[in-house]
């Protein structure tokens, strides 16, 4: 029980990841697949962010008046920074994927994978 409640953030990220994974694999509509992919990526971002969080800690901004800096008081800023980059990557991937989907729609007039494959054969 403690494992589930105490580390609920991880469980949520796993659940989200699985939802995304499920959508990517089983959905036949390409946009739905893409949404699944997005959920999948978001799950990882949440995972990173939640690892940085500490109870009762403050945002990592240096205040001039404070003399002693105790790292334990601050939330670790690095995962946030990393995730900024990851979000950029994610958005670009999403952009490229959407561009590809538009090309597909122009070619086949449908976004259902089965129908596209049917047209190919």
């Amino acid at each position: 029980m403690e494992i589930i409640i105490g580390k609920y953030n991880y469980w949520i990220y796993i659940a989200l990841m699985m939802i995304g994974f499920y959508a990517m694999i089983t959905k036949r509509n390409l946009v739905k697949k893409l949404v699944g992919m997005n959920i999948f990526q978001t799950a990882i971002i949440l995972f990173f962010i939640s690892t940085a969080y500490k109870k009762n800690a403050t945002i990592p901004i240096l205040i001039k008046s404070q003399e002693v800096i105790d790292p334990a008081q601050y939330i670790n800023p690095l995962p946030h920074v990393l995730m900024l980059t990851a979000i950029v990557v994610m958005v670009s991937t999403f952009g490229v994927a959407l561009a590809v989907i538009i090309m597909l729609y122009k070619q086949y007039k449908t976004l259902d994978e089965d129908e596209i494959i049917e047209q190919l054969e």
């Binding site: 990173f48 490229v96 494959i117």
Partner: protein, 493 residues
């Protein structure tokens, strides 16, 4: 200021910026784009040679980005392995760029060519970045830069390439996410992202299950990117329908860089003993690779489309390299690293010939090889060399990497692996001799009446250069090993 001190950053920055400048140039004068594109790649080659010679002469180069001290700042670390991969990637990108001038004209409308060149430069940047960085998160970013450029380049191919590209996006993103997850686990446990720093921090944590999970995520992520069977589904379609130059470039470099990441993760980030002794991962990978070799070879045999045949052969070849890396002994490792070079040259040469076939004959079907020696004698001579190398007949380069791989397999008493390698050689022999027979011994009345002219010079020259370099590399195997590869072997082998 000595330029040479900064070549490890310049080789990333120059193509990155050039890819944007290229678009602006196209606004003024579109015909300049190609020259500019070649110039940049030429500079990359010179820089990569400079890096390689620096590494050979004075050892590992460490470049601190923006002057931040590692492990806080990003650090570029170039040792022999990086320099070797960088040299391969930049040289291949230049050679294939020369080839692309004519071949791409049929595949991309002329006004869009500058975008092709820019994306190509981005792909090069990404691949070079993967090979040069010493930071595992930075590596993820470059991995995605390369992949994104790859998705785009593949999508501009034939009609069916778009769907292939979409599937690749889905698979590739899953792979990248797994990799990122592995990075996350490692970061939680250590608070560091620098590979050198991590290699000192991690040994204390080897008992932790988290490390095992992290390594598993990293390896699976990379396995998707290198199309290790059964995670290969995206590859055949993508490489078959992509433009010829893109197939050649991607097959020659993307999987190879992936193998590089595998080596880095398994042997630099973690110690070899973690990979081989503490966890069963190396033996899992060995068997995984053996299955890949068998599978790739058998499926390749059943194909009628030349590029698809090559794609499945590539899947088997990826198996070779993973096999050699995970054997965990010196000979196997040397074989794998050597095969990175050999396979890049061979498979690029063959994909370029496939492109040539498309260019002149307009089809990739194997039947179109009938009697082709009459119309394209030089191309077919190059094909013969590349084919012999694929089979592994001395003195072509392919023999030597196979030699070390088999030697490694026997040393590890991995007999099934040795059989797999030989089996795949035999399958390649069947595939390629069938083609050679079609080329040289076609019945007169089966040969199409229409004679095709030989390929244009700018396509022919790269093919010939690669074919000749197969022989040259074969003959200088010993030098390559003693100057570069032997220093890449991880300690403890």
């Amino acid at each position: 200021m000595n330029i040479s001190d900064h070549s490890s950053i310049l080789i990333i920055v120059i193509p990155l910026i050039a890819s944007i400048i290229n678009i602006f140039i196209s606004l003024f004068k579109r015909s300049l784009c190609y020259s500019f594109f070649l110039l940049i790649l030429g500079i990359c080659v010179i820089l990569s040679i400079d890096i390689l010679s620096n590494v050979i002469n004075s050892g590992t180069i460490r470049y601190k980005l923006g002057g931040w001290m590692p492990p806080w700042g990003i650090e570029y670390v170039v040792d022999h392995l990086n320099a070797y991969i960088i040299a391969i990637v930049s040289t291949m990108s230049l050679i294939i760029a020369v080839y692309s001038k004519e071949s791409i004209k049929q595949e991309v409308p002329e006004p869009k060519l500058p975008y092709f060149y820019s994306t190509y430069l981005l792909l090069t940047t990404g691949l070079l970045g993967i090979a040069i960085t010493g930071d595992i998160f930075n590596l993820y970013v470059f991995l995605e830069i390369a992949s994104l450029a790859g998705y785009a380049l593949i999508a501009i191919g034939e009609k069916r390439s778009v769907l292939a590209s979409f599937n690749y996006i889905i698979m590739g993103t899953i792979g990248a996410c797994f990799y990122l997850l592995g990075v996350g686990y490692i970061y939680i446990m250590t608070g560091s992202l620098n590979i050198t720093d991590l290699s000192l921090l991690l040994p204390n944590l080897y008992e932790s299950k988290v490390m095992l999970a992290a390594l598993a995520f990293l390896v699976v992520g990379v396995a998707i990117k290198i199309a290790l069977f059964p995670l290969h589904r995206w590859l055949p379609d993508s490489y078959t329908f992509a433009p010829s130059a893109v197939s050649a470039f991607a097959s020659a470099t993307m999987t190879k860089v992936g193998i590089y990441v595998l080596i880095r993760v398994s042997f630099t980030l973690f110690e070899p003993r973690f990979f081989t002794e503490i966890t069963p991962l190396s033996s899992i990978l060995v068997w995984w690779a053996i299955v890949a070799i068998f599978f790739g070879s058998i499926i390749a045999l059943a194909q009628t489309d030349f590029k698809r045949t090559l794609s499945y052969i590539l899947i088997a070849e990826v198996g070779y390299m993973v096999f050699g890396v995970s054997l965990g002994n010196k000979q196997g490792f040397i074989g794998a690293v050597l095969h990175i070079l050999n396979d890049a040259v061979m498979i690029a040469c063959l994909f370029m010939i496939a492109g040539g076939l498309m260019y002149r004959v307009g089809s990739r079907n194997l039947e179109n090889f009938l009697g082709l020696n009459k119309s394209m004698p030089i191309t077919m001579a190059a094909f013969t060399i590349a084919a012999l190398s694929m089979i592994g007949i001395p003195p072509t380069a392919g023999f030597f990497s196979k030699w070390y791989l088999i030697l490694g397999a026997i040393e590890a008493e991995q007999w099934i692996g040795a059989i797999a390698l030989l089996f795949s050689s035999l399958v390649n022999a069947i595939i390629f001799f069938k083609l050679l027979e079609k080329i040289y011994f076609a019945k007169k009345d089966n040969i199409p009446k229409h004679k095709f002219p030989e390929l244009p010079f700018s396509m022919l020259a790269p093919i010939v250069i690669l074919a000749l370099s197969i022989l040259v590399i074969g003959a200088s195997t010993g030098k390559i090993i003693s100057k570069v590869i032997q220093f890449t072997v991880p300690g403890g082998f």
